[in-house]
Symmetry: D3
């Protein structure tokens, strides 16, 4: 039985190798990224039964996304298909040192924008335990925004836990627009993850991690809220109080997807009834993700556990 | 002084290396293609002063197209820029043997669709001798179709020779729609190139090369019409009669852009007042293009001339 | 419901790129190959529900084989796992022109050799319609040979159709040893595929395609026997008589797996009750496979159908 | 109108990828480098109209240098061509950590050594505002040394500002030989850049940044002298006094060309009448250059400005 | 005349490029590694005449190992060949930051396991000065363990100095098994190198570097014992007392083989009668090795000497 | 004991991958080529003990040539070294179909030009059986030309057989200059190989293969003369008469070095006293060489013998 279902867009990611520039690179590496699919992939690596719901164009690029998700163990049988649709793309130039990484989206009018409520397999979704999506999904378009709210309503009615990652994207919408949408969405969420930065930008929440977390709890009435402080660590708050866990320091091979790997860890612990375990898993997974090319946490639960036992770096032989 | 100006869309082309499939390739090679830019690049290799007019998004992908055209010697100072615009893309899987090559376009709503008549530098265009475009340009959208017709009217008024390559693309429009548009365009053209296949599909012209060519002459009132018969050769027809030239046989590294290299050769000869020379140049260039990766004829006039002298293949050392 | 199940070993294949030699190549391309998995992958591309049964080492190489089979649509939930086991490998140097391709196996004592009858999920297998394996499986070791015979007995008892590809491998066993084993196996098979060359080497069957096919029918009592004549074509024989279909000529990118793609086509037609359709599908798939890197037919049913309609080569745009 | 003109040699640079050694690397990456062309490329990225003067062999390597400079926006119409000439080359093995990078020159008798005064287009040069060259140019050969001095005399006569980067290369000449030559050249320069290390090695100038700068001012009578202190920062001295700016710290992808990117920033500010702005631009550009493969600063003025605003690293999305 | 002879297994090493995972990498880089061959290669780079003894399969992989060792200057004429034998392999995923590197061996039943005493060319070995092997060799199998002891007995009888690197590999044997074997081997060794960690794990020796070194001296009666403390440095102990040398800090491109490069430096100094020089050489070589891809120290004595003079990093030009 | 010694220049060869052009390729493949070293490498593959004599610059590029020759089994202990010398280079763009391959030499003033007679180890050379060089060596410079003649005189005095490949290079000298030089050299040769084309261009010899061969025999007084007719085959003539052997047809991966592989085969047979065997070996090796990247025949005697037995193409498994 599928425990977790996530919903959102995935894109083909095209990245110049070896720190080259889009202006001059002779080739592009192909990866796949999308916050909710990234979370699903990371959960599947931990052995969690997880499905991903989306709409893809019925062409080789769309079929590739489906196939690679399946390769990594994500159930994709409920993905919907749009003949002639557009595959979302993004061009990602990695940063290094003071050189900033940049993302150039080419996702307007992509297939997911035609997703509708009645296309979804509600029997299937209803049998899952937890539904996850992020603030990127309602940012895609007005129609997807409406859909997201409706979907969240239905899944809560069916008794699923809702996990939500705020994931504010300044290239997709403005803070005020985001806030308005999320004021409808957050009250439907049981588990909320938000960066300290987004909390300030979108909700005007500043202060200590605990203060921000409690602010978000008030907005959302979620059981658990986790505020992430970048390279420092995270603050988790529930009705039982708050705790802080420090992030793991590591070198960076590929920065993208670390937040999603973190969410997967949190969800993993949440499903096991141990939020602190989830936060620790999440931090270890986010750190490992930094050392893995692409948006996806490709690894094993054993690697995460070894890291939590303190076995970092070196060579095992 | 710039002799030739071409107008049309160029796209970033993304191709799996080593005959891999889009479904599974880990990387994509980056090239640039677009019929009219391809013609401009090929003309520049022959030493012709040539400009390309288009509209590009003001992002690294758009700037790359501009830069690479300039690298190959094409004047791009009249290219227009659209902040926030979309770069046209296409994914090209090379065929080999019986495996067909496939093209997946992602060019809807690309920057060129916002090009307008009054953005063009008519002083600059007016000083050129020959204007070239192809049937792909009016196929892009209704607005570009109108623009194309207006542009052709103006350039003929200014005394430029108009060269037109029919270039029917079944993924962009239907034969009837194409025919209707071209019935307005062809009468404005002095030099027309058309494949035997397109002549049949679009205009219902069948028969010998000469018959098809004369049929197109009647539709267009062009001074010269050239019908290409794929790997066989071409038939050129003027008021002085028709002649046939056989194609050169070669191995295939990359099939795209060969027709555009041919057009460049024809224009080169036409400008020199020697259509037969142009046809021969065109056939040699099309053959060489098959052996060069990407859509562009990258080479020298000397290579073309050596080929016409019969020096094919081997190693010079 | 799963229609087809195949059983056999799959190996990691390591190939020097660009026609380099194992002696000096700086890198190796990673593919996956194994006759029965190749058949399963090709069937999945046609939309057939297909599972593959095997035993893999529980390490990243074994998990990769499982994941990539799943990526291409093969059900792998019944694959068995051997902690600490060895992944079978083979090094494949592609030939070109008169340079022969070479295969260097490193598969001794690989995980599949510990596969036992009672590990298999007989409920699952019993619900399938057709079971496929090849002569490579009983060649792996004596224990796998015994297992193969027992498995075939059980699946026939459960009413599955048995498809068997002779696939003689001179690096694994001698003709006499092979013949002895296959004399037990062939009578259990309903559908037999054999190259003309193997028929001669292993069974001493020579003569016309039809004579060889009938000879194999007598040995096997199969409903249908197909003898393949390399680049010439194939002869299929049933109780209703024999027919010949010519092979499609193509260029070669990667020769391996073409026979398995052929088998998949045959099985596809066989399941549809149309052996001739299957043979035609098989020949088209074998030809396409030659143009696709790796051992696997990665493509679509539409491509096969287009080829059968006569649309070969060129570029679709 | 062209504002800046630089003169010097450019070479094809060949670099083993992935930190490999020249002894064993199977391939070499192709870049182009040459101090004065590097400066021109970096200025073009800032939107400055800039030309580069040199002499290249009329072969594919020479034409490549011309084409790539043009791609990045440098005017190359005044480059001179030597049929049968030699293209300068250098092999560059990147260092990492304590492993030193190494440069192996193959530039003896390259095309630029035949450059003569009367080949230059003095009308064109006379219309520019600033002329830049470096101490590498007079180091190439005696004839180029004489030429350099004559050129500098003429450009000062024509009222151009002269910018000069000392750029001592121990593999090309000895400190005493360099000093003798530069004692003729520096008095012709208005803007001088010199590393602290070269100031000591060549001119015996030691002490604080300001002391060294003032020492160089006395030798050169330049309006502005900038002494660079490697990873620490730079000291700029004019008649109005001296100031220090700290360097930006970053990770290193490719160390070469950072000094030239710095010079470009300084020239940019100098032309705008704001030396301090130039120094800051230069430091930001040098830091960014460290994160970009090849000798060239490929980027935008916007990126430099963002860095000066404090937006370093991270990912924009 | 050959001064040094080393004996042990070498394997083909297969590594995903660019920090990719074995699960998904499309290609693998080919290197060669094996502790004793690594030492031989590093000695050859210093100009020491050195031979390597082993047994290889007579196939392209085995011949490759022989050829690459010869390329780097190691005498391989005494390598023995096993027709049909298995080449040892290992898959190495590089770590980065907190992501641990992992080694997956595929070396069971490789060719060296059939090596026998009387196959060795004792005339040749008898003319050498120093014999080196490591604790990996006796760990391969019981037969190789016996062989190792016998070989060490014979070489000591013939008056060769014996150098031994403890090199405990937890994936090959248990500490107790290792200790038992080494209690026979160490008394035959004149020069012993051991990591602080292995000293604790295998021999239960803890404490200061000097204490551990003296503990090992008692076990081995070696003239010199060197204990390495990872990134900190090493302690060397002889009857004349002990000294400490700090390690050089550097960035890591490839961690493997650094210990072997260190041993080579130590042997180099030992042969010159200057252990401290050897330790310094070894530390510089280990540091340089970290910056060189693959298991081998590929470089020059001049580079080591420059490093010891304090010339680290930067670019020489 | 070394049987064969060859003398000549070797160069680093730099080739764009995948049929790219020098103008635009982002990388170059590194190979090593030089007619006489190519012959030595091919002989070493057949198991012949062979040395190569040359002079190399003492830098990483020179050391690489030495190391790679040694890797392939060529004795290089008599190679001489020139500190600060120049490594000869050539850029090779592969042709395909009608696109001609092109060679751009950068070998002027390379290290071999300083080779002098008394640097050679005449004791070593005197112990060999056969000396081989080609017409490229005397074409390098006047000093090397003189040296070549003197060397050939000395080796004939010492009783070595002299093998000479005419190998006319139009980019190095004129036919008349070549003829004058070869009129001195050919009388010193016992075995002469010449293309039909060179025989005409340089010596004005036309007609049947036998007529040309006899013409060359008169010029050279060689025991055996072999005239090669490109893809057709070769004519061999001795005092016992002439015979023709047809070439083997194959696909082309890399055309360079095929003539040198042929020479190696001829020398192999000549040394065995069976010229016809040598010619057949040579033709098989030339054909195989076409299918192997780089200038070198990398393979085994077994592969050549299999080809002569008629086992061409296919896959062995």
């Amino acid at each position: 039985m599928t425990e977790v279902v996530t919903m959102g867009e995935a894109m083909i990611r095209l990245t110049p190798p070896d720190h080259q520039r889009l202006m001059t690179t002779p080739s592009l590496e192909v990866h796949i990224g999308g916050a909710e699919l990234n979370v699903a992939v990371a959960l599947a690596q931990l052995g969690v039964s997880v499905a991903w719901i989306s709409k893809l164009p019925d062409n080789p690029l769309g079929r590739r996304v489906d196939a690679e998700a399946r390769r990594l163990g994500v159930h994709t049988s409920r993905v919907l298909w749009l003949p002639g649709g557009k595959m979302g793309l993004y061009f990602y130039e990695k940063g290094v040192g003071i050189r900033a990484g940049t993302v150039l989206y080419d996702r307007a009018d992509s297939a997911i924008n035609s997703l509708s409520l009645d296309e979804l397999d509600w029997d299937f979704i209803g049998r899952c335990r937890l539904f996850h999506t992020s603030g990127i999904t309602p940012a895609l378009s007005l129609s997807v925004r409406k859909l997201t709210v409706e979907v969240l309503r239905r899944v809560t009615e069916r008794g699923l836990t809702v996990s939500f990652d705020v994931n504010y994207r300044s290239r997709l919408w403005e803070p005020l627009e985001c806030r308005a949408a999320l004021e409808t969405i957050l009250p439907l969420a049981d588990l909320v993850v938000c960066t300290e930065r987004d909390a300030g930008t979108v909700f005007g929440l500043f202060g200590s991690g605990e203060e921000i977390a409690q602010g978000l709890r008030r907005l959302s009435a979620a059981q658990a809220v986790i505020v992430t402080h970048g390279a420092k660590g995270v603050t988790a708050a529930t009705e039982d109080g708050a705790f802080f866990e420090a992030a793991m320091v590591t070198d960076v091979v590929d920065r993208l997807g670390a937040g999603d790997a973190f969410c997967a860890g949190v969800i993993y612990g949440y499903l096991k009834g141990d939020l602190r375990l989830g936060v620790r898993f999440g931090l270890a997974m986010a750190a490992l993700k930094h050392a893995i090319p692409g948006d996806w946490f490709i690894g094993t639960k054993e690697e995460v556990e070894n890291l939590l036992k303190g076995e970092a770096g070196g060579v095992k032989r």
